[in-house]
Amino acid sequence: MAVQPAMPRSWRRETKPHKFCPGCGHGIALRVLGQAIDQLNIQDRMVFGCDIGCSLLAWDFFNVDTVQTHHGRTTPVIVGLKRARPELVCVAYMGDGGGYAIGAQHLVSAAMRNDRITVILINNTQYAMTGGQMAPTTLPGQKTETSPYGRDPDMTGHPTQGPEMVATITPESAYVARGTISRPKQLHKMVTRALENQIAGRGFSFVEILATCPTNWRTNAKNTWKFIEETMPTHFKVGELKVPEAFQAAAGGEGARADG
């Protein structure tokens, strides 16, 4: 048999190469998710919901039942599904615009209700699919198509602290973390925990993932890494924000810390 690429079993090979741009962080985030699906053996009882925005390009990404929804509305679709079929493992996958702007009320409400779903949110600091407009996560001074002179926090606010917000409004049984595609191993642990927390029926699970967007950042590979590893973490602290006790006990008191 020919040598095979190391794709997760749950990836749908027929749709590869996937539709994301060169250097896009979605590919790594979705590989990590695919590996977690394989490891937890949940491919046949999973529903993957993706949003509008670049995340929609994942509509046929996995060999997993998938629903592509409206902008920001993946959360309620997945909430409705999970409520109807609690035995399924339900993931809402979206971008920062979908999660923190147009769908913010759904994220907040699902988190407050402690809905047993997993929300994975890709933070690449702007609306990528629509051509690089300012997002809730755009950094102060960052130039986008709708902040051509740089984001002015005085006029347009500071970057949304999503996991911090979710951690504040969820009960102790929720899992909340911020990972980055530049640390796939740590990210893998976070995504796995976010799924495990749902499977255990404990509570809402949320992982924000810092992700690259060389196309809209207009960066070469070197500056892409620089932006995600040096610039973004000055505003977005990577690490776990809320870890239910069950995980802490299992790990002998050690969580996947910021440097994990």
Binding site: A2, V3, Q4, P5, A6, M7, W11, R13, E14, K16, P17, H18, F20, C21, P22, G23, C24, G25, H26, G27, I28, R31, I181, S182, P184, K185, T212, P214, N220, A221, K222, T224, W225
Partner: protein, 91 residues
């Protein structure tokens, strides 16, 4: 299901496999390589951009970082097992 074409190289500590049909030439791996042993290849990737290949074969330690940061699963790094290692040393 069709197989992906690949180019395989035997390096000091393991094999390096590139699937040009998956490589979009983003170069993230080149920048991330701790030993700076990757570079642009003559082979074109899926979007007609140059794919990558090991250029400093001697320095590669088969750490696999390039494959973990590849958004497209275009790189496969497999370290030799004990047996294979021995064979290589004997040659």
């Amino acid at each position: 299901m069709a197989d992906f074409e690949y180019q395989q190289k035997e390096l000091k500590r393991g094999t390096f496999t590139l699937f040009p049909g998956l490589c979009k030439g983003c170069g993230l791996c080149i920048e991330k390589c701790p030993k700076k042993c990757l570079g642009w290849s003559e082979t074109l990737g899926v979007y007609g951009m140059p794919a990558i290949e090991p250029i400093n074969k001697e320095d590669c330690i088969s750490c696999g970082v390039c494959s973990t940061v590849c958004p497209d699963c275009a790189i496969l790094v497999e370290r030799y097992g004990k047996e294979e290692k021995k064979k290589k040393e004997e040659h």
